[in-house]
Symmetry: C2
Subunit: 352 residues, 2 copies
């Protein structure tokens, strides 16, 4: 029964795609969501494919506070100049709003920095999912020579010379010694709090009919009808599966990233990327893994054409863009963290 339903749902756009490929990658999640979409079209009482975001439940406030300091601390980089917040800037939708990020010695990174907002909903981290969770991700840029260019050992060495950090780590982890696992654990705990509830769309989902305009509601209906929710669903409106970018028509780019294939070694996963969240999409330009598109309307047209084989008219595009802008939620709401000073024996930054 499932394949029958699925083929009805996918039928309009997947003529040229091998069924096994879809089944392998999308798996039960997308298929299940496909069914949800079908249901919501058929029955008005059905559950929506997008779920509201709930505020973060903080169970260890001290760990979150420590993680927040570390997130803003450029001493986790070789130069002492770059922090997590440099490229995942919480003043700017958790991104740097650049096609790809600037790293140590102004090295231009290979791929667009995904937003950290709502990243705890992702099935894995990075565009290619090579980190299984936020903690594993947090260790990546610190030691990447094109990003923060440090090493885990050197970062820990710096922190260990700073009495206030030693006290915070001891308080949170009960340990005399600081480890990189503690560092990334604390950063991940902070990042888990970076969810954005309260969007107008979520207000509507929760029953406030006045939260959206008619144009925005039409946009959402169209978003479902044309099939966007097959991938962009769940609380983060994405992040739950890997999908091929250029499913119906190839995506032309000079960015060499092959996505999921580089992680699994599977040729058929070439150009499969983690579906990005659409939460706060109006803040997280430029779009796509190569950061090549700055205009949300243009991005919507490209996605419709390449992924769904569909050409949207101007009205449809405008409606979907209007809907997408209702996904902007409450942005990070906390005081700028104050960092404890280095000491005379703290290893010094090296900008070279």
């Amino acid at each position: 029964m499932l394949p029958a339903f699925a083929s009805i749902y996918f039928g309009f756009s997947l003529q040229n795609v091998r069924w096994g490929e879809i089944m392998h990658v999308s798996g039960a999640i997308s298929l299940g969501l496909g069914l949800c979409v079908l249901s919501s079209t058929a029955f008005s009482t059905a559950k929506e494919p997008i779920e509201p975001i709930e505020p973060a439940k903080i169970t260890d406030a001290a760990k979150v506070e420590l993680g927040k300091q570390l997130y803003f601390d450029p001493r986790l980089s070789k130069s002492g100049f770059l922090s997590c917040n440099s490229c995942h800037n919480l003043s700017m939708g958790g991104t740097d709003n650049l096609p790809s990020s600037i790293g140590h010695q102004w090295t231009i990174g290979p791929i667009n920095a995904p937003t950290v907002l709502n990243s705890s909903f992702n099935l894995a981290q990075f565009w290619d999912g090579r980190a299984k969770d936020l903690q594993e991700q947090a260790g990546g840029p610190i030691a990447n020579p094109k990003e923060m260019a440090f090493s885990h050992e050197l970062a820990v060495n710096v922190l260990e010379t700073i009495p206030q950090y030693r006290a915070s780590f001891k308080n949170v982890f009960g340990d005399q010694n600081i480890t990189i696992d503690q560092v990334t654990d604390a950063i991940a705990s902070f990042e888990e709090t970076l969810v954005t509830p309260g969007s107008r769309f979520d207000q509507w989902l929760k029953g406030d009919e006045t939260a959206l305009t008619q144009q925005e509601k039409s946009g959402y209906q169209l978003f479902k009808d044309v099939g966007c929710t097959a991938c962009h669903s769940g609380p983060a409106v994405g992040g739950m599966s890997y999908q091929k970018f250029g499913l119906i028509k190839p995506y032309i780019t000079d960015n060499p990233a092959t996505g999921r294939a580089a992680v699994t070694g599977n040729e058929y996963e070439k150009f499969f990327f983690k579906v990005p969240t659409l939460r706060n999409i109006e803040l997280t330009y430029p779009y796509f893994h190569d950061g090549s598109v700055w205009d949300l309307g243009e991005a919507v047209d490209i996605m419709a054409e390449l992924q769904l084989g569909r050409t949207l008219n101007k009205t449809e595009n405008t409606q979907i863009v209007a809907f997408l802008k209702t996904l902007t939620g409450d942005q990070p709401d906390f005081k700028l963290p104050i960092l404890p000073p280095s000491q005379p024996d703290t290893p010094r930054p090296d900008v070279k």
Copy 2:
């Protein structure tokens, strides 16, 4: 009568210095302060040469909020990556804790970034005082090709495409058009709020005898007795005059900055720099205009030797350092600003 007093005060350290030079540069301020020091030694009821910092009085909250956003907005730079806060990081004592700052394309700047904290007390801005006030200073880095590498015109062009900024500027300045003078005025208004009252030293100044330890009080007395307050006085414990760095013995550095002479063209003002504030000095390492000294104790020894011809013993140095650390006040206490998104017609950042 004044020269007689002054010669008593300066006598111990100025054997090799032309009196006219001192008179010219220090002028009434330092001389007056020298008298204060003498008085405070002679009479216990005398006024202290350091005054407490009072909390900022905010008269135009909307302008301050706008200035805060602009201060954190990297779109005032060519690359879209560097903001005022990149080098005057409010999480780190209003500095970058680097010998000299990193600018566009990782250009290493020529001089140590002074703290923005309490900078409204300075007689002028930059180490050489080439900007008369905070507003004039704010325009400097934006257009400096080694710093933010933008132009005033381009920065304004960016802001004008962002509806939320247009609305904020109109609200604050009542004008349809955004100008660079409005931009720097707003930034300066925000910076004027960046004062740090509440230090333990100020608590003591206001009558709380328990706010300082005996060691810290001894350090302050020594700070006055050896003559530091001749220049490091007033609410910011500095910032009120230009002084020659290397007064008694020359300061050896490979930094080519000539200080005040480069502004005035006066040869006798070579190596004259604005006396830096000592407020929050434990946070604003590394020290001096070349950022060459990381240890506060070492900086104190160098200053005593080069400026006062005095060799401090270990106990004296420890006491003065202990006193200086009581000058750390309340750090910036506000929520991380959230920036309004660019629009499709916003000029795009250029990292090249």
